[in-house]
Symmetry: C2
Subunit: 339 residues, 2 copies
DNA sequence: GTGAAAGCGCTAACAT
DNA sequence: ATGTTAGCGCTTTCAC
């Protein structure tokens, strides 16, 4: 890549010392320099096409203005909005974002973590549900600044930004109850994930509150395939024993769609299905998916806000921000079938 | 973030000179050092938990092992697979990826470009359809290493990795022709994008080849809304004059779905629809979308391979890699209705 | 095979 | 208000 001019070139062109040029060009120190000098230096910089070398600055200041974002898989549609939310807050403030995908593999996560450390990121935003307590505690012991997003911190007092999972599940169960459903099924995600546990607990509690019968089955991952095979297994043994499904997320709900179809069951006529997340295109599924909308973009924004505060401001006490969720009623839920 | 040990700490612990430690720890120079010394230094590094500071290395070597990836919008589902493909190739080779979103805004693109330059990225992978010739020529004049992905280079001799758009459109038109369709419509994306132009031209040519009547209407963006409003406009004036639609991409196809529904038309009974990209969840739409599968992940891999070659190997002559596409027939296409 | 020393481009005391 | 100087952590040329 091209040989860009350095500060020393600018200083020479402006006829001042290197350090004066540095001060003139830096927002926080330009007040120390006379207005004319600032103008002179700025002009020289512009004329030469000078841009600061953030690598050199980073070495000197020990700040790279880079945040590492750890996600399981960017192709899972809930993560791009989170990443964009993070970016929208950080970008205008001079920070860049390094996104890594772990694929829920601890080995991969460790490698990516090392890579981010080598790159001297100023902080971490962690969106992986699987990062175990030991790893997290480890991060904390190393003095690493981090914020959790879309999951709670376990094993370390890190701030977290989450959707109100319990309320969301409540809304879903209440909606099905209002439609006359009596026997519900919940597909829960991997137990390592805090959201899975929260949603499953909320499901049980909500069923009890509404006097409904609620079963829970486990899925090995938050994926269409995992949802389908879990539902297949259930239907093969329990055909026609439930009328409503509250899936742990929209991908699992999609797996349920596939399974119902394979078993000759119609949604919503035979079985109502509710997802979670309101992922992009949920409205275009067959049928359009009733789901809980979680504000992923805003979660990203909030996580970014907190981590910047931790880095640049005083370390706040670990906060937990819970953002409100809403029920989006579409075509996958209907009045309960008589069974 | 924690105060990590430096090379000098390792050197001291191993009882060797700083430069010896550096050589011992570097793959490419460790051969110069006696095996025992290498072992000694490696052990010291491990014991201390040493990890290299890539910022310092980058300052010295003028290589950051970072690639900038410029996309329009990460929430457009075709980009995450591309990014992951890039990452899958680059990650194991020690490179990281800095992804920026331009939202098709030239001002935003310029800002992000500056940011990437300040960060001393080793090269750019550009996936934005809108980057105009002047900007691209500008990059090239500055000696910037870049590779285009999912679009052709215009205005600069940069390598490009693209899907075989023309063949894809051909497959789609041939499929509709075989189903007895005589009058087709193509929704083309923004004219600035090379893929739009290629696909539109291929559509005209294919219609001619098959003796079909082919109309083309323009969409302001590759989005559901743009597709819907373009189709709305068309249907309001031309109800029942076409039986098949070849959309410029899957999002436009989804817009067509919405428009058809709003006009009381059924897909595929009244109108067959073909998309482009085979985006995630295309199989779950209503109806499942017949579309052209483009290998986005593989496009990312190839783009990464080329740019690494340009950076580390000799500069190859500008290549254009065209990856094959396939027609995926689903429920949105059927035998033509008599009109 | 290893040590010495310079320097990548910048910021931040410390002077004046 | 500006100049001087040291040094961030590393690689690499030059000695020996």
């Amino acid at each position: 890549m091209g040989n860009r001019p350095t500060l020393i070139d600018v200083a020479k062109a402006a006829g001042v010392h290197l350090s004066t040029a540095s001060r003139a060009l830096n927002e926080s120190t330009s007040a120390q320099i006379s207005p004319e000098t600032v103008k002179k230096v700025s002009k020289a910089a512009r004329d030469l096409g000078y841009t600061i070398n953030t690598v050199a600055r980073g070495l000197r200041t020990k700040r790279t203005q880079t945040i590492g974002v750890i996600v399981p898989d960017l192709t899972n549609p809930i993560f791009p909005p989170i990443v964009r939310g993070i970016d929208s807050f950080l970008g205008p403030r001079g920070y860049s974002v390094l996104v890594v995908n772990t694929d829920n593999d601890p080995e991969s996560e460790r490698n990516h973590f090392e890579s981010l450390m080598r790159r001297q990121v100023d902080g971490l935003i962690i969106a992986t549900g699987h990062t175990d307590k030991i790893i997290l505690a480890n991060y904390h012991n190393q003095g690493i600044t981090a914020v959790m997003v879309n999951r709670e911190a376990a094993g370390a007092p890190y701030p977290a930004v989450v959707g109100d999972d319990a309320s969301g599940i409540n809304l879903g169960v209440a909606h099905l109850a209002a439609l006359g459903h009596k026997k519900l099924l919940h597909l829960t995600g991997p137990a390592e994930s805090s959201t899975s546990r929260t949603r499953a607990q909320a499901f049980s509690a909500a069923c009890k509150n509404h006097g409904l019968q609620g079963k829970i089955i486990k899925c090995s991952a938050y994926s269409i395939d995992a949802g389908q095979s879990a539902m297949d297994k259930f239907l093969n043994q329990n055909l026609h024993t439930i009328t409503g499904v509250v899936a742990g997320n929209d991908l699992l709900a999609l797996g349920v769609y596939h399974s119902l179809r394979a078993h000759g069951l119609k949604c919503p006529q035979d079985v109502s299905v509710i997802g979670f997340n309101n992922m992009p295109f949920a409205n275009d599924f067959q049928p359009p998916l009733t789901t809980i909308d979680a504000p992923h973009y805003e979660m990203g924004v909030q996580a970014a806000r907190i981590i910047l505060n931790e880095i640049e401001g005083e370390a706040s006490s670990p906060v937990k921000i819970m953002l409100p969720v809403t029920l989006i009623v579409r075509g996958s839920t209907a009045v309960a079938k008589k069974i």
